[in-house]
């Protein structure tokens, strides 16, 4: 006993430097600092790339004015990405270009981190271990929130520093104060959704439930601000949505620091309620009533593939709804968004991303890129779930029955591929429903084909994920999501135009032709499917030969 303890201390010399009173804070802060720095770099680089790309594409004042005139008052884009009041300046364009994306990513980062650290730790039983130390539930929850604050500060600091450095360029010219305020706006959703996630962690019975509740709230916030910005005369609604408050901060164009008040108030109230609920409820229980007893429902439980479907069902249904809604929304706005494009310099921006043509099809080309990302998220989530079964030891129960590893993995991949294919088909079908209702004149076959076109990039990421799962199972999620994030970053940053082919080629989304604005590149798609399958086979062989590894 004492020997193991000593060995442990020698291997992890930092472990006994934490005071037992603040250990939860210290552990959380260490994890979140890393994460905040990483995402801060990603935030900063996206700011840098959009500012620089603007200065290289729109060189003259006339071009910039044309862009602002064509695009600035477009209700469809304003509904999707927020209003674009300052397109004639670098700062205004940059704020428009990155704001909505970073706001959403920030919110997801916040809610996923906090639910993992609060509810996830509780699900795994580690939380009880911490609580048996010198701390109470309430204090420990507050400490986790404090640790996350460290991450948020890192996120803010890096975003700010890179924005300031970008602003030093005389062509960009963003002042330090504006940059600091802008970075604050970009992390505001992260702050609010950390609080929301802390609250849902007390309400839900599991981490998945907690994260789903928070994500549903995020979806509602987005929908409310979307209606407010759609130019149908209800802009006041913007004050009902936390995302709307951030929008009202109007960084880099027309700053309105008063909008910080609801943000701060909301965060403080929600976080306090979360902490006080944490002190009141039992560990591993939820505040909302949830069913403890249930009549046995044995459907899908006769086989391991049925079990896999049943376990991923709640998440999958959520994704399918998200795909249907986004397909429909994009379809609905494509025509009006596209009508301002023809002949204007905005087609320049789209063409830099690889979208050709004019009108609705050009817009849809870029919309399908966003949906490709969603489909990839579905695939990555399935693989994480499979690794989760192994990490938590549940897979042991399946693999000690007469069931081979290869066939189990084959089943999980069958589930993953079916689920993401349904998502991809939905993208095509619902986009068509949307466009058809607006008489945008884009054919059903063409949109369905564009949906199918989303599958190959996902298969590459899934394949690489399976390979990682075979070789370094503990890295499965990290590698899969890192590749996804990288691919995304490259296509976003790629519109600078100066990026080397070698780097561009590493992005699966760059390999994908932006159908329906251009025809799918079936040759490239074939190669991607081949790479995906080859990686998956190698991963499967490695999985067969390795140890099962618990977390």
């Amino acid at each position: 006993m004492s020997r193991t303890n000593l060995a442990h201390r020698l291997q992890h010399p930092t472990h006994f430097t934490y005071s037992s009173r603040t250990v939860v804070f210290a552990l959380t802060a260490r994890k979140m600092l890393r994460s905040g720095v990483l995402w801060g770099c990603i935030f900063g680089i996206s700011v840098y790339s959009s500012a620089i790309s603007y200065t290289s594409i729109y060189k003259t004042q006339a071009e910039r004015a044309a862009l602002a005139a064509a695009y600035g008052l477009n209700e469809a884009t304003s509904a999707l990405f927020g209003p674009a009041p300052g397109l004639q300046t670098v700062a205004g364009f940059t704020a428009f270009k990155v704001s909505m994306t970073l706001m959403i990513i920030g919110a997801l980062w916040g809610l996923l981190s906090i639910t993992r650290l609060l509810r996830g730790e509780e699900d795994s039983g580690r939380w009880e271990l911490l609580l048996s130390g010198q701390t109470t539930r309430k204090v420990a929850t507050a400490q986790v929130l404090g640790g996350l604050a460290v991450g948020v500060i890192a996120l803010w600091a890096l975003t700010a520093v890179i924005t300031i450095l970008t602003g030093l360029d005389s062509k960009v010219d963003i002042g330090a104060t504006s940059a600091l305020y802008f970075a604050l706006a970009m992390v505001a959703t992260a702050v609010m959704f950390v609080a929301v996630g802390a609250l849902t962690s007390q309400l839900g019975g599991t981490r998945r439930q907690a994260a789903s509740y928070a994500a549903i709230f995020l979806g509602l916030c987005y929908a409310v601000r979307m209606i407010a910005d759609a130019g149908v005369g209800v802009h006041g609604l913007i004050w009902l949505s936390p995302l709307g408050w951030v929008e009202e901060l109007r960084p880099l164009t027309d700053p309105n620091p008063l909008a910080l008040l609801p943000i701060i108030g909301f965060t403080v109230v929600v976080a306090s309620v979360a902490v006080s609920l944490a002190g009141r409820r039992d560990v591993a229980d939820s505040t909302l009533p949830h069913r403890v007893k249930a009549n046995g429902r044995f459907f899908l439980l006769s086989s391991s593939i049925g079990l896999a479907f049943r376990m991923v069902r709640p998440a999958v249904v959520g994704w399918w709804v998200a795909m249907a809604v986004s397909g429909l929304l994009y379809g609905l706005v494509a025509k009006s968004a596209g009508s301002t494009i023809s002949g204007s310099s905005i087609s320049n921006v789209l063409s830099k991303l690889g979208a050709r043509g004019a009108g609705a099809e050009a817009v849809l080309g870029v919309c399908f890129l966003v949906m490709a990302m969603l489909v990839t998220f579905i695939g990555a989530g399935q693989l994480s779930a499979a690794r989760g079964e192994e990490a938590d030891g549940r897979l042991d129960n399946v693999l000690v029955s007469p069931k081979s590893r290869t066939s189990w993995l084959g089943e999980r991949l069958t589930v993953a591929v079916s689920v993401l294919m349904v998502g991809a088909f939905e993208a095509g079908i619902f986009a068509w429903l949307g466009t058809a209702s607006q008489n945008a004149g884009v054919g059903f076959a063409k949109l369905l084909e564009s949906g199918v076109n989303l599958i190959p990039p996902t298969l590459v990421i899934l394949g690489v994920g399976v390979l990682t799962f075979g070789i370094r199972p503990r890295m499965t999620s990290i590698v899969t999501y890192a590749l996804l994030g990288w691919s995304l970053l490259v296509v976003i940053v790629g519109d600078i135009g100066a990026m080397s082919h070698w780097i561009l080629d590493t992005s699966v989304f760059h390999q994908m032709a932006l159908a329906p604005s251009v025809s799918p590149n079936w040759e490239a798609n074939g190669v991607m499917v081949g790479v995906g399958i080859a990686c998956a086979i190698c991963g499967g062989v490695a999985f067969k030969l390795r140890d099962l590894q618990h977390e």
């Binding site: 699900d123 403890v292 007893k293 044995f298 079990l307 042991d396 000690v400 081979s404 390795r546």
Partner: protein
């Protein structure tokens, strides 16, 4: 099919620099109940996971009923059930759903026996796994393994979290399984459990099998247990040849005697003993004698001087 239920041949597992299991040679006959004892971190779980083919051996090989555990795990799994001490189940399923699933995964279930086990272990199968206590989760895993009536049961600290009443139900089930001719390999750190159930016992420590034999053989190998109560000053027994002090509690000293008891009797005769009990040592005492000697606690030192 070979006649041995389990056979390993210098089975070794290393994790980087750590040798979790070191050249294990083990043979278990069909129908035997074998106990596998060792302190935490001794290598018990590693052994069982190697037998199941869940982890790959660094060296050596293992067979179950003559089938190689690593080349043909699926074939091996047809004949066995496994109970892990950690009971990792699906939190969103109910007990009944979990048992149904485990049954379907294994293929064969004796429905009547399943119901009997549920009654015996006093399990309410309508609750969700997330709402069960640790002991109740363990019951589900146990029922799941027993209800398949496999030829071999691999049990890794199966009674963790069970209360004494359920521990008794468990022992009854194991005896029945033995009477039915099933082979049982039971890893445990609870001596009394192993002592009550097993024909043969192996003791593992630091990845090495250091003893293997029937309970009788082990007792023979080991010493006589002596418990002496003193009314005055306690003499220093640890210097007496052949004597190992295992426990000292106030005026009572428990020790083990290897070889002749004469030297001990000579010391005791002059020391004012009010009570003297001598009997065959329990497994627990043998265990303590084995490991206690290498790691004398301050308490024992204090008594000795």
């Amino acid at each position: 099919m070979g006649s041995m239920a389990i056979r390993t041949d210098s089975l070794t597992k290393r994790y980087g620099g750590v040798t979790a299991l070191d050249g294990l040679d083990l043979e278990v006959e069909r129908g035997e109940v074998v106990g596998y004892l060792g302190p935490n971190g001794a290598g018990k779980t590693t052994t069982i996971r190697l037998l199941l083919g869940l982890i790959q051996p660094t060296e050596g090989r293992a067979e179950i009923f003559g089938v190689d555990c690593h080349r043909q795990p699926v074939e091996v799994h047809r004949h066995l059930s496994y109970v892990s001490g950690e009971s990792n189940l699906w939190p969103s399923l109910t007990g009944a759903e979990t048992l149904y699933l485990l049954g379907r995964l294994h293929g064969e279930v004796d429905e009547n026996y399943q119901q009997e086990l549920i009654d015996r272990f006093d399990l309410d199968p309508s609750k969700k796994v997330r709402a069960y206590s640790r002991g109740n989760r363990q019951k589900i895993v146990l029922i799941g393994a027993l209800m398949a009536r496999p030829e071999l049961l691999l049990l890794d600290e199966p009674t963790s979290g069970l209360d004494p009443l359920m521990e008794r139900a468990f022992r009854l089930c194991i005896r029945e399984a033995r009477d039915r001719g099933q082979t049982i390999f039971l890893s445990s750190h609870i001596m009394s459990e192993v002592e009550a159930l097993c024909d043969r016992v192996g003791i593992v420590r630091d990845g090495k099998l250091i003893e293997m034999g029937t309970l009788t053989q082990m007792r023979h190998l080991s010493a006589l247990a002596v418990e002496a109560t003193f009314d005055g000053v306690i003499p220093n027994l640890s210097n007496v040849p052949g004597v190992t002090v295992t426990e000292a509690d106030g005026q009572v000293v428990r020790c083990q005697v290897q070889g002749s008891v004469e030297p001990l009797l000579r010391v005791l005769a002059t020391a004012g003993v009010t009570r003297l009990v001598s009997r065959e040592p329990s497994l627990e005492e043998m265990f303590l004698a084995h490991y206690g000697a290498g790691d004398p606690s301050g308490e024992l030192d204090h008594v000795a001087h």
